[in-house]
Amino acid sequence: MIEDKLLVFRFKRGRSEALRQIYDKYKVELLKLAVSLIGDVNRAEDVVHDVFVKFVQSAERIKLAGSLKSYLVTSVINRVRNYRRDSNRHCETSIEGAGLLSSSERGPQQWAILSEQLMLLSQALQGLPYEQREVICLRMEMDMTFRQIATLQGAPVDTVKGRYRYAIQRLRLLLNGEVEK
């Protein structure tokens, strides 16, 4: 198996097949993360599209301290945060209020096709405060440790753990199910 670092190395040397491999390897995971965080398929598609374009444009400056996956996940998180900040600035309704998915708006242009379970899960996630949503997605979807999430959020580990606990409790309610006690 060709490792990520080899892929990045080859990509930085302008090899488009390496870019293709990176793109194919991570697009679904990143789309799932973005959909879960934003709750709007079209916006999530835009975010991931932008992340890949930015990744290419920054090729010369990319210096991976950790894994390629962490780099791309962080890029998605930053872009989602920017998007939320901009939409809160320009619109009266915040993204929390939007809440619902629009998988059909793009019609034939649709990139990501969501299973119903992902759609419902994503909708339920929109009922969480954003920081909690970020913690739960990074933990559940991307298998990140609390320490890694704490670094990403610039918060103490205990705060992140607290957000996680609240998010689980709230999700149980939002998913309208009583999880086995």
Binding site: L6, A112, G127
Partner: protein, 450 residues
Amino acid sequence: MKSAETIKRLFKDAELSIHPDTDERVFEDVLQAQQKVKESLPAVPERIWRIIMKSKIAKLAAAAAIILIAVVSLFFFGKLLAPSYAIAQTIEALENISFLHVIMHDDAGKIVDERWIEVGPDGFQRRYRQENTNRLIVDDRKTCFVYDRTKNTVVIYDPNEKQYQWIGNLREFFQDMAGDSTLTIEENVDYHSRKAHRVRWLKLNQECYIDAQTKLPMAVGPYEVYYGQPPAGTFEFTIPEQVKVYDTTAGQWPESQQDKEIADRKFDEARKLLAKGEYMQAANLFESVVQLQRGSNWVWFWLGQAHYKLGQYDKAIEDFTKVIEKIIAGFKMVPHYCHLARGLAYRAKGMEEKAKADFAIALPIMLDSLRNIDGAMIFDYADDPLYQYLPVDQRPTKEQSFARMTERLVEVTGKNFIYKPGMTPEETEQLIQEWQNWWQQNKTQYQSAP
């Protein structure tokens, strides 16, 4: 923590697939961005060098740098020049190679993966054969055959659409390696009783052994590499008897994939029919999706709704029961919307006690959702098979969800505490209170139902 595990399973089971046409367009955008970056890489113009070198300090620094490079070069001459030359020799040696034979062994020395690769003059793969325990892949440039011994299937692909490969262009791999500063070379080491150069690419944690005589790679990572002619017929494939063949170039995909596509199309169509009130046709289509062994719990749920609307209450109860059992078994969760639906089906059959038992499960959550309206979303979703396709601005608002939930409560309980548009917050609070008081007074008769 069990609830965390269940939610994690929900995350992992929630699937997302990619629309292939759009995917290609998105990748083209990304590729174009890469192309633009390549085109716009600035070369340092000669003029800037001249400006810099006009400075006295720059001139002194340049002189110092030249002296330093000369000293360092003399000191490291023996160490540096020979290894970098070895890599160049490997690249050159690979230019004359037409076949690679790549083998990987397990710890017991048994071959677990074997590949033959024909390499073109440009260094890129031409024909390819790979064999491991379960699969044999043969790509003769015209057709790519994938024989899965465990499934007893052969899938035929167009090599332009699907290509299996090892490391890609091996010459390019070494060219990339040669240009990297984290390369270390240890000359004349022993590799399986042969003299070799050990090349370690620290940055990528890769290790290769180069034959000291031929300068060709003997091993790349866990793979041993040889360069002989392959036996006759290596790149030929004869389809074994009694295997199932799928020729994807003729639109025949393996059943699982084909079934999924057909099931998805039918499921979509059935939902539309249900929404239009064409219950019989919708039920037939939902049933055909179920027969393909496909579909989520929602196929069963909406099949139940179609049966309910057709007055086929026994079937509806059976369908809803399947959903409840599947969700409890799979996710350890209770689908309250489905208990509501099954309760209504029992009631329609005149089985009031059974209906109350289901309502006893659904009602607390329905009442709770009057305060936490997000909880009503799943009931709205269950009510509308086309909810998924609604644009954001056409989805029910929180007020509409609230109103709809009070209607459901009225239907179940017969009470008339209903939401009227334009109610003030105080009136809404009073309405919620009325519902809660009613539940406190009546819950025992529901909860005591068998």
